[in-house]
Symmetry: C2
Subunit: 382 residues, 2 copies
């Protein structure tokens, strides 16, 4: 099996992720911060370590700004629904995932105004178009750091500047860049970033979170037991408890911490380099396949290792089916939960065949994928 | 280590839980329902199996009514915030956990009226008091199935009848009964039940869910990618996708399914019997310890295996600290995230020392706990 669906969920995980989870569930197991006995304290320590590692990894000034959630979608919902009020305006792009678009459409029904700025055929957005969309009541720019369809990198730095010129904050969806593209919040002054644990950070599913910069206060989306201020019938203000109710996924977060350990050990730059090399290799070879249409930028400096393509007019599902059943190559096909992105690319009907790499993919696997695509093209397109 | 904090999180887990998680993360790993390749289909199957097992376990008529969430708290938030509207009235009790009380207090600020019915000193609520609290605009009775402080069983069947007489539904918080007290939705016609995966169901942390009876429609709390109807910019109506956005905790749910397998193998009745025996043994022995105050009912038929107590006026944390450090017994102390329950019991200042059993506890361990309490009492109370 050649697994090239890492933009959906990375696989395999480093062995250490697995071992950390096993150690946690076998030896710790208790509920963190809900009890003072040794197992509960150890569980609390595991949780705090994960929080510190995430904060350090992103260059966040304060671990208590790291809020753990079920997945990046829950983090985006908390950010969007917890920050915006009726009458507020938000600017977003036509390359966003439904985890941004659907909460925004829902907020629009509650009186939030939404402007979707059109991206070009490669998924790029022009910063001046973002800027033009900003109004006096714009409170948020919600932007993906890289498209989950084309891998296109978005101008996050410029978006921060544009937000700062007005009264807006930048919410950055780093689902496709966390662990894959080195960045630090020291430089990239995004106000909130929403991250999944199970993609580039190499942790297990069921983990993710929202980083909220100091001073920014949201309405909590979920309220309940926090293990702190148990005497209060109202959600406490203390961070991160204000946004973390109920028992956390301690075993998953132990795995996430180990995923980050792996990235630091290998080096984030090395991971980026390897994936960029694989992507360049793939894009170069695709040029020689008749009938192939590649979406997104050709320059690997402008993208991450997510490559969408089609073979002539063959349905993307058909190509994906052949890749899976005949060539044992796992990719994702269809619309990738991003309907506006497909309108932007003109692929609403056909969808795309999406290859997405991880550090564990090899150049040999890329060559196999190219060979398979060539053979499928030959068979269907003649 | 004698672990008696199972009401917070059960530990240890059956070996099969761990093995199912390992198998899932090593061999499946992909994102369920987000791709048609074999790993994604296997992940989808794992997810569906977990859903079917939960539905079957609770006697739910339809697996698509089982919505998986991060924890029971997220499920309760979805139920409360997704169902109630300004002007609606909700009835609840003074024994509820903050996972019910805090979302209700939050809804009260948005115009929902909340009546908290007072329970007695053992945590019981009189059905007639519940009934008296119902008004023409009562839309929900939110009730714990058993108190997380005293273990007291609540009159869920009567509450359903009371709800049916008016225009209300019953939301049952089964955090302390799921997997511990055999019940079936065939008989107990609760409209929604919120369950944790990591307590009596013996799954890992990061799992839980909400069962919603067919025909009941809620506003989704979280919106985003569902892997279905990717062409829509709005949350799809299809179940359970409407309430499940973003990548689920597939590895955790594989563990939850294995936890349920273990319960079915041992027998839910056998688990209940063993825990009731441990509780009866403990309660009987406690009678002989001078100065001990036990909260909640003495009759094991009226409670689950959660026993709160105090030793004279010694602070509950002090007793817990001694149990942990000197006797290697893990319990929870303090307020247990249920401030109203402690007001009801008169233990707001002192908190309680809470022992909670699982199937893996033994009578020898109960005897050890009794011995330890007797020694601590002798030392502090003379």
């Amino acid at each position: 099996m050649i697994y090239m669906d890492n933009a959906a969920s990375s696989w395999p995980k480093p062995e250490g992720v697995w071992l950390a989870m096993e150690k946690n569930i076998r030896n710790v197991g208790a509920n963190p911060s809900r009890g003072a006995h040794r197992l509960a304290l150890e569980a609390g320590r595991a949780l705090y370590q994960a929080r510190e590692k995430v904060a350090e990894f992103f260059g966040a000034p304060d671990p208590t700004g790291v809020v753990f959630t079920h997945n990046a979608t829950a983090a985006l919902n908390q950010a969007i629904k917890g920050y915006l009020h009726p009458g507020d305006h938000v600017v977003t792009t036509s390359m966003e995932h439904n985890s941004v678009i659907r909460p925004l459409r829902s907020m629009a029904r509650r009186g939030v105004e939404v402007t979707v700025v059109q991206c070009d055929g490669e998924g790029f957005i022009r910063p001046e178009d973002l800027k033009k969309a900003v109004r006096p009541n714009t409170r948020m720019i919600a932007l993906t750091h890289a498209s989950n369809v084309t891998g296109t990198l978005m101008p996050a730095g410029e978006a921060v500047d544009i937000a700062r010129q007005g009264e807006a904050i930048l919410l950055l969806d780093v689902a496709q860049t966390a662990g894959l593209l080195p960045f630090s919040l020291h430089e990239l002054q995004a106000d909130m970033i929403a991250f999944p644990g199970h993609k580039g950070l190499l942790g297990p599913q069921g983990t993710g979170g929202l980083y909220i910069r100091p001073g920014l206060v949201l309405e909590p989306l979920l309220e309940g037991g926090t293990g702190s201020h148990s005497e209060l019938e109202y959600q406490p203000d203390v961070l991160p408890d204000r946004y973390e109710s109920g028992t956390p996924n301690t075993v998953g977060l132990a795995g996430l911490a180990a995923g980050i350990d792996f990235i630091r050990q290998v080096g984030a730059d090395e991971i980026r380099r390897h994936e960029a090399d694989l992507t360049a290799h793939f894009l170069e070879e695709l040029k020689n396949i008749p009938g192939v249409k590649v979406y997104g930028p050709r320059d690997t400096a402008q993208r991450v290792g997510v490559v969408s393509l089609n073979l002539g007019d063959i349905g993307s599902s058909e190509v994906g089916f052949m890749l899976d059943r005949v060539y044992d190559i796992a990719v994702r096909t269809g619309l990738h939960c991003s309907p506006l992105a497909h309108q932007t690319l003109g692929t609403v009907r056909q969808g795309t065949v999406r290859f997405s790499f991880s550090f564990f993919n090899t150049h040999e696997e890329v060559s196999e994928a190219v060979k398979a695509l060539r053979a499928i093209g030959r068979e269907f397109l003649g």
